[in-house]
């Protein structure tokens, strides 16, 4: 087994590395990029130890670390991962390596600060996924905003200031009510441990209020319709690396929050209000899908596509109650939840890849407008192949990872309700429509203008970045077992937990009666 505090290393190594980069830049080192890459790669390789040493047979927290931190508030430095958080940590460390590579030549201004911001953010995001203490979680969750705020604001596009302040305030607004809810539960349970919160008995009114407070925080992060409006702005203005991290990981933190907080802490409120989430998710899938169709800006199109795909995630997660009621077994519910989680990971790869593709084009022609391109395949054949692959994956082509999650969620929603499935399945059509139409307009056709004529195909660095993403997209599309296996035990455990009401017995029965 691992005999050193692996999770702490994954959190603090990148943060320390980021601090070292800042110092190196201040001291005037000529080239700090290799150091950044070494730190990112080391963190990624270390995170693979999580996978190789992970025990898939148990739902218990693994790699736990526990030390008192703020004794006055009974706050502990408590880290640990299960099948829900472990894949997300690896996604984070993997994506950071690509982001460091993607910024290699593109970022001219203050590259040390740029790389440092991404490394520090990597550590903070790992902290979010690994925290088992609510205050620790909240600290990482909020601290994460600071580097992202700077990344968009310093290296972003023309409207970056507007976008980044909107991003910051929106997310801040969502999360402060969560803080109030966390403190409230602390006073009920006497501890800040997330696992203590899971066991905390709560009345229905309390659950509803806590659920809504969490919903504010996580819905903004996911983002769910109608609190999604910060995302297109932030994505469009962020530098490529910022967009990739936003889409691939930050949005997943919202979905993770639902799984780690909302469902297990307030199962009855989640049950009673699941219609709200399902409604918001379906609106996101259908309405935002149409919105994506009409975008003129490539990044905006992918941003809206992200919202629609994340609607699928929340749909899969919150179908569980209908499925439990309808089928009486956890099998169907597990399918929906695992589908949502696979979709999170897969969307992390695919949306990241698409933003990197747009970044490749933007670096050359400095435009994100679809109308400025056309016939790129003629001058950049290798790049075109990648972009087509990722666009197909985005529309859920079988054989790519995009298919697996969507298919699982659609199957689950059929078992829940035909109309849910009918609406959810429109993502297959709409997703294909906007992804393929994007490809048609940008990649295929005649060479549109001189700019496109002079394009050079991707270099070796860009090839490595895109090829590694293509590899995982195809790997998990053809063989999703390694991903799904690690989730099984934790998902079953979570379902067993949420199917037991926290209310006193009679009230719980009455609610179940009404639930149908």
């Amino acid at each position: 087994m691992i005999d050193f505090p692996l999770l702490s290393v994954l959190v603090w190594l990148p943060i320390l590395g980021g601090a070292i980069l800042l110092v190196m830049e201040a001291l005037g080192f000529p080239d700090i990029r290799p150091t950044a890459l070494v730190v990112a790669l080391a963190t990624f390789l270390l995170s693979m130890l999580l996978y190789t040493h992970f025990d898939i047979s148990t739902a218990a927290m693994q790699f736990q670390e526990l030390a008192p931190w703020i004794e006055a508030f009974s706050v502990n430095y408590h880290l640990g991962v299960d099948g829900i958080s472990m894949p997300l940590i690896i996604l984070t460390t993997f994506t950071t390596v690509l982001v460091v590579l993607a910024g290699w030549e593109v970022i001219k201004n203050k590259i040390g600060q740029y790389m440092a911001a991404f490394l520090i953010m990597e550590g903070l995001m790992n902290g979010v996924f690994a925290s088992l203490d609510a205050v620790l979680f909240y600290v990482f969750w909020e601290a994460m905003l600071v580097p992202m705020f700077l990344i968009i604001g310093i290296w972003g596009g023309p409207r970056r200031v507007y976008a980044t302040i909107k991003f910051f305030l929106y997310t801040f607004l969502g999360s402060v009510l969560m803080l109030v809810a966390l403190i409230y539960m602390h006073l009920q349970s006497g501890a800040f441990g997330i696992l203590d919160f899971h066991r905390l008995p709560l009345g229905m009114t309390e659950q509803i209020l806590i659920f809504l407070a969490f919903l504010m925080a996580f819905a903004v992060k996911v983002p769910m319709w109608p609190v999604h409006t910060w995302l297109p702005d932030a994505h469009v203005e962020a530098p490529t690396g910022g967009s990739v991290i936003l889409a691939a990981i930050m949005l997943k933190i919202g979905g993770y929050g639902f799984l780690r907080f909302s469902l297990p802490i307030t199962p009855d409120a989640s049950h009673a209000l699941d219609w709200l989430i399902i409604l918001m998710s379906l609106v996101a899938v259908v309405y935002i899908g149409f919105v994506a169709l009409v975008q003129e800006d490539m990044k905006k199109l992918i941003a809206y596509s992200s919202i629609a795909h994340m609607g699928f995630v929340t749909l899969g997660i919150f179908l569980v109650f209908t499925l439990l009621d309808n089928t009486g077994s956890t099998g169907g519910a597990a399918l929906g939840m695992e589908g949502g989680m696979v979709q999170m990971i897969s969307h992390g790869f695919i949306s990241g890849a698409l933003f990197l593709c747009v970044g490749v084009l933007y670096d050359r022609l400095h435009s994100r407008q679809i109308s400025d391109y056309g016939g790129v395949v003629n001058t950049m054949p290798v790049f075109a192949a990648f972009m087509v692959l990722f666009a197909l994956a985005n529309s859920g082509l079988p054989g790519t990872s995009g298919f697996v999650g969507e298919f699982m969620v659609i199957i689950a929603s059929f078992k829940a309700n035909f109309w849910f499935a009918a609406l959810a399945a429109t993502i297959m059509i709409l997703g294909a429509a906007y992804s393929l139409w994007l490809v048609k307009r940008v990649i295929f056709g005649e060479i549109a203008n001189d700019g496109v004529r002079q394009l050079e195909d991707i270099n070796r660095r860009e090839f490595v970045v895109l090829a590694s993403l293509a590899f995982v997209v195809l790997l998990f599309g053809l063989w999703p077992a390694p991903l799904v296996e690690v989730m099984h035990a934790s998902v079953d455990n979570l379902l067993a937990h949420v199917s037991v009401s926290k209310l006193p017995h009679e009230a719980g029965m009455a609610l179940l009666g009404n639930g149908n």
Partner: protein
């Protein structure tokens, strides 16, 4: 009135500071302008030694001496230590500014030390007259400090406003005290408490006294609607004086509130809780909203102070040990953060140029990434974003009021802190996202560099390891 010599032991810090202030005053008369640095170094040494003395008194038993007028308890020791350390920082920040403006005179430091003495008396008061004495010593020193740059019309105006309104507030407080004296026949805190708990119901006179005392306190805190002097004085005073007013006196004001409200009028808690709730909500609302409209960073920080006072008062509203220790933690850490914030204005100023406009922070990251980072930490701490100490200050206050079932008040507080976050991150935006307006490199003296860095890193360090200070704040109230 026999006072044994041993009764003076708990006063050793006060005696030491008083003696040193007088010695420095005399020495300062005889040193030439070129060697003014002697007064400066002596003042710093005094504060450091005083901090050591009072820190050593942290574990002492509570002792009420001098016929019940003076109390030495662990809380007083902790608050005095913080006051010394923060004033130490203030003095270090001030030197460069005073030197470049040709007003590097000993009076600044002597008046500062007397203000510190006033704060100490306030912190240790166990008699309403002692409170008044401490308050006046503090206030009079501050009035003089504001007018310290006598050639500046703006500063004189600010001093006049401060004096008139401050005198009014002192009058209010004194009037309240006199009514309390009339009702209970004593000025001693313990005796008043006993008299109040003996009487079955609270008469009109008690409520009247309470009203005037709360008004006096609110003036000193700068809580809405008694906040009018804050922006004008902060703006008009020379920056080192603004720095001084904005930091350590907040700790003293907290002590005064605790001595008066909790220890004297604890029996009327239900009444003053309601009054403070109004003050707190108004301060949070008006402070945060009006701060957005400011273009002058000193005024912006003044309104920000008002909003922070609102948060601090929330801790008092809880009216239990948890709330008081949260408010104490808030007062100490806010003073630390505010020192850094105003210190940065001094750092950016240079001869003939006041960096007190928000636009002066533009592009600071280009000119000095290190100090931009330091200011970033301070601003996020004021906004309450972890991992800075400001987050834990807010967390502990919120926890205290949620504990007494005032969840709605917590929701109001966090709502306004989002509005507050906007103008703090606007400063970050100016520093990081905008181009600098001047290419002039920063010339920062070594002592300023050291104190600025230590200040900000302390804000960050206390944010990563807040446990010790939180534990001390809780312990001194239990003792």
């Amino acid at each position: 009135m026999n006072i044994a010599l041993s009764e003076f032991a708990p006063l050793s810090t006060e005696i030491f500071v008083l003696t040193m202030a007088c010695i420095i005053l005399i020495i300062d008369v005889f040193v030439s302008d070129e060697r003014r640095i002697i007064s400066y170094v002596l003042s710093l040494a005094t504060l450091l030694a005083a901090a050591l003395i009072s820190w050593n008194m942290l574990d002492n038993e509570t002792a009420v001496v001098l016929n019940g007028t003076f109390v030495s308890d662990p809380m007083a020791a902790l608050l005095k230590t913080s006051i010394f350390l923060i004033t130490f920082g203030v003095f270090m920040y001030s030197r460069a500014y005073l030197v470049t403006r040709g007003i590097f005179r000993g009076e600044y430091y002597v008046l500062g030390l007397f203000a510190v003495l006033g704060m100490m008396v306030l912190v240790s008061a166990h008699n309403l007259l002692t409170i008044y004495l401490g308050l006046e010593l503090l206030s009079l020193s501050l009035y003089a400090l504001v007018a310290f740059n006598r050639d500046s019309a703006q500063a004189s105006e600010a001093a006049m406003k401060y004096f008139v309104l401050g005198a009014l507030a002192s009058g209010m407080l004194l009037y309240g005290i006199s009514m309390l004296y009339g009702a209970t026949g004593s000025l001693d805190i313990a005796e008043i408490t006993a008299a109040l708990s003996a009487s079955d119901e609270m008469g009109m006179i008690h409520i009247f006294a309470l009203c005037f005392i709360v008004v006096g306190l609110a003036f000193k805190f700068g809580a809405v609607p008694f906040h009018m002097w804050v922006p004008d004085v902060y703006h008009g005073a020379p920056t080192p004086v603004t720095l001084f007013i904005g930091s350590a006196p907040k700790i003293a004001a907290f002590a005064m509130a605790l001595r008066l409200l909790e220890q004297t009028l604890g029996g009327l808690a239900a009444d003053w809780q309601d009054m403070l709730t109004i003050l707190a909500v108004l301060s949070l609302a008006i402070g945060n909203v009006i701060a957005i409209a400011q273009t002058n960073i000193k005024r912006m920080l003044a309104y920000s102070t008002i909003s922070h006072v609102g948060f601090l008062i929330l801790g008092l509203i809880a009216a239990n040990a948890e709330g008081y220790s949260a408010a104490m933690f808030y007062a100490i850490t806010y003073a630390l953060t505010a020192t850094g914030g105003f210190g940065m204005i001094i750092l950016l100023s240079r001869s003939g140029f006041e960096a007190d406009q928000l636009d002066d922070f533009k592009g600071l990251n280009e000119r000095s990434p290190w100090f931009a980072l330091m200011m970033l930490i301070l601003m996020f701490s004021m906004a309450g974003v972890p991992p800075t100490v400001g987050f834990y200050a807010k967390l502990s206050v919120l926890q205290a009021i949620i504990h007494v079932d005032m969840v709605w008040l917590a929701v109001v507080a966090v709502f306004f802190s989002i509005i507050g976050a906007f103008y703090y991150i606007r400063v970050v935006k100016l520093m990081y996202f905008d181009e600098p307006e001047t290419e002039e490199p920063l010339h920062v003296s070594t002592d300023l560099q050291i104190v600025m860095s230590l200040n900000s890193l302390a804000v960050l360090g206390l944010g990563v390891f807040p446990g010790a200070l939180l534990a001390v704040c809780a312990a001194v109230l239990v003792a």
